[in-house]
Subunit: 232 residues, 2 copies
């Protein structure tokens, strides 16, 4: 039977429709790729692409020999874009500002060492800076850079360009992790962000590696009212 679905987006839409319409309910086994290809009148490759896409977005579970099933608890996946802060601000039609507050070689506290998987004794470059949007405090950045991995960072001009952008252009990374949480503002954070201590602040912590070499670990404390949103 040829229903005339000749491209993979079309097949994906039709499969989605049937899942929503409960033709294939959660836990159900779908026909094989070959059967669907025959029904839709297209090549198996096309069906494969459609089903693979749906599996990647978490709606289907595929196993060789076992076949393709509709997952029982669709774990929705949201994709967050982690932009360079300057671009994030400029996209809101605000002017970006940046101020370097401090820059020292220091022995990092234990939690930073642990996050970067480094052992004690290594001195790291410690940077504190402030990002501004239209002159207002936007986020406070507390960053540690592994100078053993990125020695050029010692000579970098970090007065005019944020460490974030310098690293993006000069120290590529292969993997990392990111975490989000909420904290009460310390006195220092409150003063820098122009608010009162105790106010709830949104925090982003990110560490990156090149292979298994730690590059940098950064903690971004956002100004009150910060909201991170995305579509699902």
């Amino acid at each position: 039977m040829d229903t005339g679905l000749r491209n993979w987006q079309g097949v994906r839409e039709e499969v989605l429709r049937r899942i929503h319409a409960r033709v294939w309910a959660p836990g159900d086994l779908l026909p094989t790729e070959t059967e669907l290809a025959a029904e839709f009148g297209c090549a198996r490759t096309t069906v494969n692409r459609a089903l693979r896409t749906l599996a990647e977005s978490g709606l289907l579970d595929r196993k060789r020999k076992a076949g393709t099933r509709v997952v029982r608890h669709p774990v929705r996946k949201a994709t967050l874009s982690i932009p360079v802060i300057r671009l994030e601000i400029e996209k809101q039609n605000k002017s970006y500002g940046y101020a370097l507050l401090s820059r020292e070689m220091e022995t990092p506290p234990a939690d930073v060492l642990a996050r970067m998987c480094l052992r004690k004794g290594s001195g790291l470059l410690h940077l504190q800076s402030l990002h501004l949007a239209d002159g207002q405090p936007y986020a406070f950045e507390d960053r540690w850079i592994n100078t053993a991995a990125v020695p050029e960072s010692l000579d970098a001009d970090l007065e005019s360009m944020s460490a974030n952008e310098w690293l993006v252009m000069n120290a590529p990374f292969t993997n990392g992790d990111i975490a989000f949480s909420a904290v009460n503002a310390t006195d220092q954070e409150a003063e820098l962000l122009g608010t009162q201590s105790g106010v709830a602040l949104f925090v982003v912590e990110r560490s990156t590696w090149n292979g298994n070499v730690a590059i940098t670990s950064v903690k971004l404390v956002c100004a009150p009212g910060y909201r991170m949103r995305t579509d699902i």
Copy 2:
């Protein structure tokens, strides 16, 4: 020239390596698919798959006729899994508990209506509940359900099963949005979560639609110390 890269993952790794090694620097134009296929000794389809994958993860920018370029500011994309809370807790080897606190038909406040893109006058089902991990408060859930879109929800047994799970199984959605922020605990939230008012809490807000029909809007206030993490 055949360098023996015969599968798309291998091609992807090699292209990645060259980007990291600055063979192709940010902004540079890559060879065409056909040229790369010749160099790697594989079919163009294979190169296409590799480059398409890298473009999807935000490292390459591809345009017909213009060719493939390394992006200047690699916007890293983090994929968050939004799990059913019960599963999230059980994955930590803790026992899941759930308590329905209130269930009323009510006229929602303006901000909820706006979030769901509904107009005034519609009564919605308002649910408040508490999620527990090993008996300790884990998150406070404040949910509105559009009964016009999901009339069966009026008869659902929401004492034993959380609304989240009931909806996952009974009211599929096609799209939605999700937002994260930080708030200071209100007196009510503090009492329910076993903490003091004013403590910084992590908040997740999510709204879902089936086509353009609003299904539900939920606000999840997490217990102190909540951390959401993922790899990038």
